[in-house]
């Protein structure tokens, strides 16, 4: 790592300024509109790609840029500072869709699928969850049957981030026996006949990202789109959980940080009974509690990132970070709305959105309960 203040060196700080400015110019002025519309313009992918944001930590061979995990940290934090978790999740949905291709794909597959996404020309989504189950990957039902040089895929997927307009979906399908050994990963191009976006889902939060239910009716997928061997899907899916959970933890900390900042600002100007809210000890102490929780959670998450950077197995810690940060985020956003009173319940108030956006963080990317099951297997 570069010399610098703690985890971040000069290049991280410069990148932080770049992303902060990008958010200020290209996102913040329009983000309320996009939250209402349930999506942001496709063009934003290309704009982000032009300054390298989509290629952070991808090998240069596949149009990425040599960088380290703290550059990723910076991008996630600053995009989340737009005040729209959905925007960050949608713009970076390739962060979950491409890693299985990197882990399992052949040179040809990487060349075909990765650069167009990093250049912002194509949108990638990850398709695992089905109407009948999420983290229970071993029981997934979407079937892919081999016919000559094609697979014929039938089934459905749901709650797919960027699913409504993705150009391809890295999809978990069943090619073999029941259980996780029968799961494979196929890259399904969404213009294939039989592939339908059956529903664009309306959500509690993360509103600026499109989330879809997908239906596949005998979709013919070329066998060359199979990632790795048949049955290797489970490994491909698991290989990226560590990073996904890290990013969700970072989003939780940043969402909480924003809620805290908004609350401090508001407590300084809002008057009640002849003084500002900051003039009441109960508010001051509440703000201190919020600040302490956010700071502790952020430091822990950074230490986990440093462990991953050093190549350590951080499954236990990253699962803990996800549980902890999501819970902190819920608590801090709850307190932020409370401090804002009735205004905090209004759509025009940022903390109202943060409160809704917070809720997904203990659910998406594996629920807190799933995290606890993982941790219990490691420590008990």
């Amino acid at each position: 790592m570069e010399p610098g203040d703690g985890y971040f060196g000069e290049s991280h700080e410069i990148l932080r300024q770049t992303v902060a400015r990008f958010v200020e110019r290209e996102i913040k002025p329009f983000v309320d509109e996009w939250e209402e519309a349930g999506e942001f313009p496709r063009e934003l992918y290309r704009k982000a790609a032009n300054i390298g944001l989509l290629g952070v930590c991808y090998p240069e061979e596949w149009s990425g840029f040599q960088s380290d995990i703290f550059h990723e940290v910076v991008v996630t934090e600053e995009l989340t500072r737009s005040g729209s978790g959905g925007l960050a999740a949608g713009l970076m949905s390739h962060g979950i869709a491409l890693p299985p291709i990197l882990a399992l794909g052949s040179k040809e597959q990487k060349e075909r699928f990765i650069p167009p996404v990093i250049r912002g020309d194509k949108i990638a989504a990850l398709g695992i969850t089905e109407p009948g189950g999420g983290s229970d990957v071993a029981n997934l039902r979407t079937r892919a049957v081999r016919h000559g040089d094609h697979y014929v895929v039938s089934g459905s997927k749901t709650m797919i981030t960027s699913g409504a307009r993705a150009d391809f979906v890295t999809m978990a399908v069943r090619t073999g026996e029941p259980g996780h050994r029968g799961v494979s990963l196929l890259v399904v191009e969404t213009d294939s006949p039989g592939f339908v976006v059956s529903s664009k889902l309306k959500k509690m939060g993360w509103c600026a990202s499109d989330t879809a239910e997908l239906s596949l009716d005998e979709v013919r997928v070329p066998a060359e789109n199979l990632l790795g061997q048949e049955g290797a899907g489970f490994y491909g899916i698991m290989s990226n959980f560590q990073k996904e959970r890290l990013h969700l933890s970072l989003m939780a900390n940043t969402t909480a940080q924003l809620a805290l900042e908004e609350s401090i600002k508001y407590a300084g100007v809002r008057e009640a009974f002849g003084r500002t809210l900051k003039g009441f000890q109960v508010t001051r102490h509440k703000l201190v509690d919020m600040a302490t929780l956010v700071e502790v959670s952020r430091e822990f998450t950074y230490s986990v990132a440093a462990g991953i950077h050093a190549g350590k197995d951080m499954i236990k810690q990253v699962s803990m970070a996800k549980i902890f940060s999501a819970e902190i985020c819920d608590r801090v956003c709850h307190a932020a709305v409370q401090i804002h009173g009735g205004y905090g319940y209004m759509r025009e108030c940022l903390v109202e959105r943060l409160y809704r956006d917070s809720r997904i963080l203990s659910i998406g990317g594996g629920t807190s309960e799933i995290m606890k099951e993982i941790i219990s297997k490691l420590i008990l």
């Binding site: 000069e10 290049s11 410069i14 990148l15 300024q17 770049t18 400015r21 390298g52 290629g55 840029f65």
Partner: protein, 259 residues
């Protein structure tokens, strides 16, 4: 086209400035620093000239403490080729005259067709360094520039500059000193690949002795104070407009003593 861009690192415009208790300066703890916005226009314009002529270089020149390397590195990440960092304890409290001496001495050691300065720095707002550099180097200067057109032979330029209520177009021989004004361009982002490339670009460190300067400041800052805090406003309501106007005029005259 060879451009030399003088650049200053300043506190971010979002920073809440606080004065040190002893009044000797501002408290620098926790301040975020950025490139002076007017200098960013300079960097962008220099990069565009290099791109237009498909040849040349953009060199960054800055006076400042260790932290100023980040500002130079940011300009290198935008696409500039190399930097000169004048870092000397003796220059940390320098006035515009001493800074201009240092910049001019460093400029005299390198090749350039044009020198860019921001028309002022947003921290101390002097707006003097650019003009002084031109004087010290014996070069023509065009201030508050919003448009630069360099001739094909690179011997002269036509520039547009801000004047009260309008624009003035001037022709100037090169080399010259330009001070950049808002409206000159929209600076590009330092991209991730640019940031990673910038790590390997050279920054030449220089001390006052290396430049052979030994200038006495002409200005001495005596004391820094915050402006008086704004008092709560007074409301005149539930009155006939004519009466309210009378009351306001009286208050402005007798209480605020501004009319």
């Amino acid at each position: 086209m060879k451009s030399l861009v003088c650049l200053k690192q300043v506190p971010d415009t979002e920073t809440q400035i606080k004065v040190k208790p002893d009044g000797t300066g501002i408290a620098t703890d926790g301040i975020k620093y950025v490139i002076n916005p007017y200098d960013e226009f300079s960097v962008e314009e220099a990069l565009r000239l290099k791109e237009k002529f498909k040849a040349g270089e953009v060199q960054i020149l800055s006076v400042g403490p260790d932290r100023a390397t980040e500002a130079i590195r940011t300009a290198l990440a935008m696409g500039a080729d190399k930097g000169i960092h004048i870092n000397d304890e003796a220059l940390n409290q320098a006035d515009p005259f001493v800074i201009a001496k240092a910049l001019a001495a460093a400029a005299a050691q390198v090749e350039y067709d044009i020198i860019f300065c921001g028309h002022r720095a947003i921290d101390d707002d002097f707006g003097e360094a650019g003009a002084m550099v031109a004087e010290l180097l014996g070069l023509p200067q065009v201030t508050l520039v919003t448009k630069v057109e360099i001739s094909e032979d690179k011997k002269s330029a036509v520039m547009e500059r801000d004047i009260e209520g309008g624009k003035e177009t001037v022709e100037v021989p090169l080399p010259c000193v330009v001070t950049s004004q808002k409206g000159l361009n929209e600076p590009r982002y330092a991209s991730l690949p640019g940031i990673m490339k910038a790590k390997k670009k050279p920054i030449d460190k220089k001390s006052a002795a290396d430049l052979g300067i030994n200038a006495e400041p002409k200005l001495q800052a005596r004391n820094f104070t915050m402006p008086a805090e704004r008092q709560a406003g007074k409301r005149y309501q539930d009155m006939e407009p004519a009466d309210a106007a009378k009351a306001v005029v009286q208050a402005l005259r007798n209480e605020a003593k501004v009319i």
